[in-house]
């Protein structure tokens, strides 16, 4: 609340010498009137009520407002100039309009609108500064500029509050949400063959990039070890909860697991001699806090693509006996594998070497 006002005043005071003469003019533009407008229109209390639980809606509104204002600035800079009583700033207005449109589009389409809202808040400050400067102009219409400043100040408060709320939610979402992934793939062999391969959990690291090892503890129980960022391991014990030979395996983590999780895989006979449809369903519920955030990062970025690649590797093993690689081939550069493009190859090579050591 205080931030925009102070900045505007500070701005005004800094360049005060230049626009301090016409006292009458300053009367329209005094501190009191600005604060009053801002205070009465955008009371802190009201704001909280407005924003609580509605951050997304408010953000959406702000996004459209941004685009609207931006379009006005880009398409009708002359009209705006007239209203504010300034001259020859059409280009500046257009640039500011483009910035408004960019942040509006960002808020409406971005996966994380909070960043764009912070950008908007920053832009608001620039706007107020520019409006302050505009008062220098001989032809300036202080009443209109003051009104514009007040409006911008209000919007700024809304931007900041909304960005704060959304930022908080982002952090919470990253560590507390349940990650759920479903994917399926066709494999050119019988359900029995894929079932048999999968049921031997020690095979999982051969095609699942994140899994370092699965050790069988008893017929039903196993110990899972997942590779985390920065070499940290996440481990848990799991138990088979449901099993139908050649058709279904379902498991879940036992109590006390760092990461609660559930998984199931179905092996369905595909029609017309197409072999097997393998359908996987995985759920991870990372706890709050640092471990949770790490797990979320591990599975959360593109979990769908990760599991899709894992299943593609399973398909390669079942159909051709191995996973094709380009790691170690020659090239006219330091490494054969491209560190720009061959991400899948790198991941799969990691899990393959793990398998080879565990198989040895």
């Amino acid at each position: 609340m205080e931030i925009p006002r102070d900045l505007a005043i500070e701005r005004r005071q800094r360049s005060g010498a230049q626009f301090s003469e016409p006292v009458e003019r300053r009367g329209d533009w005094n501190e009191g009137s600005l604060t009053n407008v801002a205070r009465s229109a955008w009371d802190q209390q009201q704001l909280s009520v407005l924003i609580d639980g509605n951050e997304k809606t408010v953000a959406c509104g702000l996004g459209w407002f941004s685009i609207g204002l931006g379009l006005a600035e880009v398409l009708a800079p002359r009209t705006l100039e007239r209203v504010l009583g300034i001259k020859h700033h059409g280009f500046l207005l257009r640039v500011m309009g483009l910035r408004e449109i960019a942040s509006g589009v960002g808020i409406l389409t971005g996966r994380r609108p909070s960043g764009w809202l912070w950008a908007r808040a920053g832009g608001d400050v620039i706007d107020i500064a520019a409006l302050g400067m505009a008062l220098n102009s001989d032809t300036a219409k202080p009443a209109n500029i003051g009104l514009a400043c007040a409006a911008v100040a209000g919007i700024t408060v809304l931007d900041i509050r909304c960005a704060q709320e959304l930022s908080r939610n982002n952090d919470a979402a990253l560590s507390a949400r349940t990650i759920e992934v479903r994917n399926s793939i066709q494999i050119n062999c019988s359900p029995a063959a894929v079932y048999k391969f999968w049921r031997n959990f020690q095979n999982l690291p051969r095609f699942m990039g994140n899994i370092e090892s699965v050790d069988t503890l008893s017929d039903n129980r196993s110990h899972w070890c997942v590779r985390g960022p920065a070499g940290k391991r996440i481990e848990w014990d799991a138990e088979i909860t449901e099993e139908e030979e050649n058709r279904l395996i379902a498991w879940h983590s036992l109590t006390g697991a760092q990461v609660e999780n559930y998984g199931s895989v179905r092996f369905e006979t595909a029609p017309g001699g197409r072999g097997t449809y393998v359908k996987v369903h995985l759920q991870y519920s990372p706890p709050a806090g640092i471990v949770g955030a790490r797990v979320a990062k591990l599975f959360g970025r593109e979990p769908q693509q990760q599991i899709h690649e894992d299943l593609h590797h399973l398909k390669q093993i079942m159909e051709t006996g191995e996973i094709i690689t380009t790691k170690g081939q020659p090239a006219g550069r330091a490494r054969g594998t491209s560190w720009k493009y061959d991400q899948a190859v790198r991941r799969q090579v990691n899990s393959r070497s793990e398998y080879q050591t565990s198989a040895a």
Partner: protein, 389 residues
């Protein structure tokens, strides 16, 4: 060993690299005796295909002698003379088992990348972008051939390299293009382009029973080869209106099938050409699909448009209205080379065709950069460059 590597737009260099090794159990390593520059390599040379990386070894048309095989390759041994197919195919998946080898599911380690662009990934291809696998290519002294048990054909004694080298790509590619036309006795086939693939498409159209074949290009020497060596009628599109001429030649019916052997870098005079060029350079359009547009417009109602030309992305102003209302069939795809190994080798052995007729230049591997430049600029009447390591 020496290898011809890609370093950017119009920048290929022959450099020293390590020798390839067996990386998978079904690999073979071959010592290359002959390799060629393909028209589709020019798309890479011109920088129109994304996901190339500096230092990628180019080349997907090559043959040579097996020097080493992986533990799971049982039908090859050191010393065998083989031609490799440009698509890499496992032989075991849904598609390979239906002989759709270029659609193999298991040979592209970067399938996810192609899947994002195309919806599904085709097979991996040697030296042809990381999106299609990032495999080291065959413009080198040695090459690794994955799934070598499926991806090679053994060459019997008595046939020269130049007779069989093009089994790797352009002969089967031209042949499949003609086969896709479902040629009936009496048919007229029009072929856009008179490059090497087009020459094989025209020749194959005759082999498959076409009555008339019409080749369309703008380079007199290419039209001459089409006329003299293939026996086609020819049109120079810079000297005539292609649609009008084709209608004139077919009594207004149009060719029964049209083959677009040009692909993404069509040259068109006039406004449309400028439109495509501007859009392509601004990355607003990935290809310049004018041959395809023309082929659709000219094709006989109920006919077939066959597309061996390479396209990469999303294109504009395709006459879908014509395609639909004229009841056309479009057939296309990377070539299922392995499917054609045996029948086309037989054609060569029977003297039905000698594929070496397209070769105009024989260079050493070290001269590869000059070969690219020459092929691109059509210098010295260049039609096909063969490199000898």
């Amino acid at each position: 060993m020496k290898a011809n590597c890609w370093y950017g737009k119009k920048d290929v260099q022959v450099v020293d690299v390590s020798e390839p090794e067996i990386l998978n159990n079904r690999d073979a390593v071959i010592k290359i005796t002959s390799t060629a520059i393909c028209g589709s390599d020019l798309h890479l040379y011109n920088g129109f295909v994304p996901t190339m990386e500096k230092g990628d070894i180019l080349g997907h048309e090559f043959m040579g002698e097996v020097v080493e095989v992986g533990s799971e390759v049982h039908n090859l041994k050191a010393g065998d003379r083989v031609v490799a197919s440009f698509p890499i195919s496992c032989g075991k998946c849904f598609f390979c088992q239906r002989e759709l080898f270029s659609l193999c599911e298991n040979s592209n380690p970067n399938a996810w990348m192609a899947q994002k662009l195309f919806g599904h990934s085709p097979a991996g291809i040697y030296g042809y972008t990381h999106m299609l696998g990032g495999f080291a290519g065959g413009q080198a002294e040695y090459a690794r051939v994955p799934f070598a048990d499926v991806g090679t054909v053994k060459i019997p004694d008595g046939l020269s390299d130049e007779q069989v080298l093009f089994l790797s790509d352009i002969f089967p590619t031209g042949y499949m293009a003609a086969e896709n036309c479902n040629i009936q006795p009496g048919d007229t086939i029009a072929v856009w382009g008179c490059g090497p693939v087009a020459q094989f498409a025209m020749k194959s159209a005759y082999l498959l029973g076409a009555e008339r074949v019409i080749g369309i290009d703008r380079f007199p020497y290419r039209l001459l080869i089409a006329r003299e060596k293939v026996g086609a009628e020819v049109l120079n599109y810079e000297e005539c209106d292609v649609y009008d001429s084709l209608m004139e030649m077919t009594g207004g019916l149009g060719p029964d099938a049209c083959i677009d052997a040009v692909g993404m870098e069509a040259h068109v005079p006039g406004v449309i050409g400028a439109y495509d060029r501007v859009k392509q350079s601004l990355m607003l359009e990935s290809d310049r699909p004018h041959a395809f547009r023309q082929a659709i417009m000219a094709c006989r109602k109920g006919g077939t448009v066959s597309v061996p030309g390479v396209y990469g992305g999303f294109d504009d102003k395709i006459p879908l209205g014509s395609l639909m209302n004229k009841g056309l069939t479009v057939k296309t795809g990377q070539t299922h080379v392995q499917r054609y190994f045996a029948p086309l080798l037989e054609r060569i052995q029977n003297d039905d065709i000698d594929p070496s007729f397209v070769i105009t230049h024989r260079l050493s591997l070290e001269e590869a950069p000059r070969g690219y430049e020459m092929f691109l600029n059509k210098d010295d009447d260049c039609l096909k460059v063969v490199l000898k390591p």
